[in-house]
Amino acid sequence: MRAGWVALLALFMLGAAFAPWIATHDPYALDAAARLRPPSATHLLGTDLLGRDVFSRMVYGSRTSLTVAVVGVLASATLGVMLGAAAALGPRWVDPAALVLIDGARSLPVLLLAMAVVAAVGAGMVTLLCVVVFSSTPTFARFARTQVMVLRSADFVLAERLIGHGPVIVFLRHILPNIAGPILVLAAMEAPAIVGLEAGLSFLGLGVPVGSPSWGAIASEGFRFLERAPWLIWAGTVPVALITLAFTFSGEALGQRLDPRRKVLL
C-alpha cells in the first residue's frame, strides 16, 4: 500500500521529466477543426475548447504542478528554517518579533488575500509563487523554531559553543543535519497543500497565466462543459487527487521510517 503511493509519486515525477516523450501532441497546438472531441486513438483524452490535445496538456500539467510544488517547498523551507533558527538562536528580542510575524502571517486568510493580489497585479507565475511561499513559510518557520529550541541546549551543542564556535557555524554543522529529517517530512506534507493551492487558484482562473497547461485550468474548462465534454473534468481532477494523496501518504511513510515511534496511521 505504502510502496504503491511512493511508486505513484515517482511515476508523476518521471512523467514530468519526460513529458516531451510521453505527450502525443504539442500541448499548445490549436486545432479549430477538432474542438471538444471525445477520446479517440489520435487524442487519447479528447480535445479541449481550442482543439488542444488534453492528454498532452495533462502530461505537461504535471510539470507546472511539480515545478510550483518543488520551487515553493524549497523556497518556503529555506526561508522558514532561517527564520525559525534566527528566532531560536538569535538575540533575545528576535524571538518574540519572529513569533508575531509568523503567527500574524499564519492567521491570514491566504486564499482571499491571494484573490486581492491577483485582482490588483494580475495572474502569473511570480504572483503564484509569492502566494505559495507566503502561505507555507510560517509553517516551516514555526516547526524549525521548535526543533532548534529542543537542540540548542543539548550537550553537544553547548560543547561546540564552549569551544568558541559562533551560532551560525554551530547551526549549519550540527543543528541543521539533526533537524533535516523532520523538515523533509514536513516538506512532503506541505507539498500537497501547495499542489492543491496552485490547482485551486488555476481552477478559479487566478493561478497560472492563461494558456499554460495546468490541471486546475483543465478542470476549470471541464467544469464549464461538464455535460458536453466530461473527459476534461477527469483529466483535470484525477491527477490532482492522485498526486496530493501520493505526497501525503509518502510523507506519512517517510515519517514512520525516520521515527518509528510516530503513530502508525495506516
Partner: protein, 314 residues
C-alpha cells in the same frame, strides 16, 4: 486573564491593520491610471486634475492612507464601479449566505465526527476505526475544489437528488440547495474531528473515574457520551478555531462550484471583472470576520482550559 485578552486583542488589531495596509498598497499598484479608468481616454487635462483633487490623489501617499483608513472607520468601503452600489450593502446581502453555509457545514461535521469518534474509541482497531484513519488523511489532502466537483457530479448529476446551483426559494428549498455545498465544505472535517475525539476519549477512558463509574454498572458508551465527551470536545474547539481560514477558503470553492451567492462568489466575480473596490472591501470584511472569529475561539478555549492561556506571546 485580562493581560492575556489584552495581548491577544493587540495582535488581532495589528493583523487587521496590516491587511488594510497591504490592500491599500495593492490599490496603488493597480495597472493603469485611475483617472483614465474612471473618466475614459478622452478626458481633458483639467478633468483629470479635478478628478485627482476630488479623489485625493494629489496628496502625498501617507495622507492618502490616513484618509483611506478614516473612510473605512466610518464604514465607507467604496462602491461597485459597474452598478454604483456601496460595497458595504453588497456585503450585507451576501455575508448571511456564507455564514449559513459555514455553520451548516461545521455542524453536521461535528455531529457525525463525534459519533464516529466515540464508536472508534470504544472499539479500537475496528473497521470503523481504520476507515476513519484513512479518510481523515485523504479528505484533508484532497483540494476542496476536487471534492466539490465530485460531490456535484455525484449528488446533482448521477443521483440527481439535489440541485446543482443557486440558493432556492423558500426555507425548504433553501435547505435543499444547501446540502451539496455543505457536504463539500464539511467533508474534510469529519475524519479529522473523529480522530481527535477518538484520541482524547481513549486517554479519558483509561482514567480512574471511568473505572469507578463502570464498577457502578454504567455502560462504557454511556460514560463516554455523558462524562468523557465534555473533556474530549475541547480539542475539537481548538481544531475548529485553527481551521477557520481553511473553512473560509473551502467555502469560496463551494460557492463558486455551486454558483451560490455569498462572500466567496462576490469576491471571485469582482476579481474576474477587475472590480477592485468590491474585491478589496470583500477581502477586508472577510479578514475582519476571520480575525474576530479566531480571537473569539482562542478566548473561549482560554476560558474553558486555563492550561492553554498565552504567556506573553508564547
Amino acid at each position: 486573564m485580562l493581560r492575556v485578552v489584552g495581548l491577544r486583542l493587540a495582535l488581532s488589531v495589528g493583523i487587521v491593520l496590516l491587511v488594510v495596509f497591504v490592500l491599500f498598497v495593492l490599490s496603488r499598484m493597480l495597472s493603469g491610471d485611475p483617472a483614465t479608468m474612471a473618466l475614459g481616454p478622452r478626458a481633458t487635462q483639467e478633468m483629470r486634475e479635478a478628478f485627482a483633487v476630488e479623489m485625493g490623489l494629489d496628496r502625498s501617499v501617507p495622507v492618502q492612507f490616513v484618509a483611506y483608513v478614516r473612510g473605512l472607520l466610518s464604514g465607507d468601503l467604496g462602491a461597485d464601479f459597474l452598478s454604483g452600489r456601496p460595497v458595504l450593502v453588497m456585503i450585507g446581502e451576501t455575508l448571511p449566505h456564507t455564514i449559513i453555509l459555514a455553520v451548516a457545514s461545521i455542524s453536521w461535521a461535528v455531529a457525525l465526527g463525534v459519533l464516529v469518534g466515540v464508536q472508534a474509541a470504544l472499539h479500537p482497531g475496528d473497521w470503523i476505526d481504520r476507515v476513519t484513519a484513512l479518510t481523515s488523511v485523504a479528505l484533508i489532502a484532497l483540494p476542496p475544489f476536487v471534492i466539490g466537483i465530485y460531490i456535484l457530479i455525484l449528488g446533482a448529476i448521477v443521483l440527481d437528488w439535489f440541485p446543482a446551483s443557486g440558493l432556492g426559494e423558500g426555507p425548504v428549498d433553501y435547505l435543499h440547495h444547501l446540502v451539496l455545498p455543505s457536504i463539500t465544505v464539511g467533508s474534510a472535517w469529519v475524519g479529522y474531528i473523529a480522530r481527535i475525539v477518538r484520541a482524547a476519549l481513549v486517554e479519558e477512558l483509561g482514567s480512574p473515574y471511568v473505572r469507578t463509574a463502570t464498577a457502578f454498572g454504567l455502560s462504557r458508551r454511556r460514560i463516554a457520551m455523558r462524562q468523557c465527551l465534555r473533556i474530549a470536545i475541547l480539542p475539537v474547539i481548538t481544531l475548529i478555531a485553527g481551521g477557520i481560514g481553511f473553512l473560509l477558503s473551502s467555502s469560496v470553492f463551494a460557492e463558486v462550484i455551486f454558483s451560490r451567492p455569498g462572500m466567496g462568489t462576490m469576491i471571485y466575480d469582482a476579481v474576474l471583472t477587475r472590480n477592485y473596490a468590491v474585491a478589496q472591501g470583500g477581502v477586508l470584511a472577510a479578514t475582519i470576520m476571520f480575525v474576530a472569529l479566531t480571537l473569539a475561539a482562542d478566548l473561549t478555549i482560554s476560558a474553558l482550559d486555563p492550561r492553554t492561556r498565552l504567556q506573553g506571546f508564547r
